[in-house]
Symmetry: C2
Subunit: 209 residues, 2 copies
């Protein structure tokens, strides 16, 4: 018999205690601290805290949107798979358009990636939605192009695209917050679906029931 902790609740409790002890969260608005703890939990890196950046109102804005029946618009299957369904309102739609019919053709027609073309299919659901981007910088860039061209504003943008080309840059654009949409992000190359979904899971968990 190997000696290890087998109690899920105790594993969570010790994990969060370690994070609270090691992570520097003081620079974050108070509403974002429990969210940051979950983001750190998802990646095993307490120094992620220094790169977490968001508006204090993103938690309330996303919660209000979800309570009002807004969909969650996800950039990839993986980020949807990481959402804990039971934390969300029963009727909440968790939408991924990446593998929708016609996306490869649309990407070719627009001269862009499939991830960006898939965002084009969000247009009719954008107003008041919760955006969740865990993978593709081009999805975030394309969203900004649509918004700057007059598309309806979502209620909140939670975006942590990851990688070496465009990820950091797309998140700088988000952090500039020129459109005054509540947001949450991770600066730099780091990010990913686990971190993005953990943030939204934490926000959903905090909803009044």
């Amino acid at each position: 018999m190997i000696d290890y902790l087998r109690d899920a609740a105790e594993i969570y409790a010790r994990s969060f205690a370690t994070i609270e002890e090691e992570a520097e969260l003081d620079h974050l608005p108070e509403a974002l601290r429990p969210v940051a703890v979950r983001m750190i939990h998802a990646c095993g890196m307490v120094d992620l805290a220094a790169d977490i950046l968001g508006t204090a109102d993103v938690v309330g804005a996303a919660q209000a949107a979800l309570a009002a029946g807004a969909p969650v618009l996800c950039d990839c299957e993986m980020v949807r798979a990481a959402l804990i369904r039971s934390l969300f309102p029963r009727d909440a739609e968790l939408i991924v358009t990446l593998n929708a019919h016609g996306v490869p053709e649309l990407a070719r027609a627009l001269g862009t990636t499939r991830s960006a073309a898939a965002v084009e299919l969000w247009r009719d659901r954008l107003a008041g939605a919760v955006i969740l981007i865990g993978n593709a910088p081009t999805a975030l860039f394309h969203l900004f192009e649509m918004l700057e061209a007059g598309a309806p504003h979502p209620a909140a943008i939670i975006a942590a695209p990851v990688g070496f080309v465009g990820a950091a840059e797309s998140k700088v654009l988000l952090a500039r917050n020129a459109l005054a949409i509540p947001f949450l992000t991770v600066r730099g190359r780091r990010g990913g679906s686990a971190i993005a979904a953990a943030a939204l899971n934490a926000i959903a968990k905090g909803m009044a029931r």
Copy 2:
């Protein structure tokens, strides 16, 4: 119009060029280097390279298993969602038992987590399988308990559980390689489904067609 790279092939090429330039991969067996590049690509961290550890034969062992029709046994939906289906043999089964019927009851009966109990359901498929663990340390611990008790050996173990309780310890056990099963892992707290799946995607991509 925002200025960013929109060509998917070019985004990949520049990402991999950046990784090749910045990451120190010399300590890895040659067969593992392209796999490590994909793992780094998935998380945006070139310093992950120093924590990647595996046997030189894990690539060939996993490829031979997949070619022979072995299933991939995944610890969570997220790691399966990150697998690129088209890279795998058409009939390859990508199996997740975490949400199978009876797992919560089994977890209670065994006094362990749902992730560990779900591994119990792998038993009939273990022989020659490819194991893919992206989330739960207790899944890896439980797998070891089953193997030490005489369960059939899988062909390869790719495991990068993440977090603050048990992740590092479970991977130390894997790296000790007492059972001489080809493996690939990431030392320490870091890991996750994106990194684990990226490794297996890279391995599948390298298969002779």
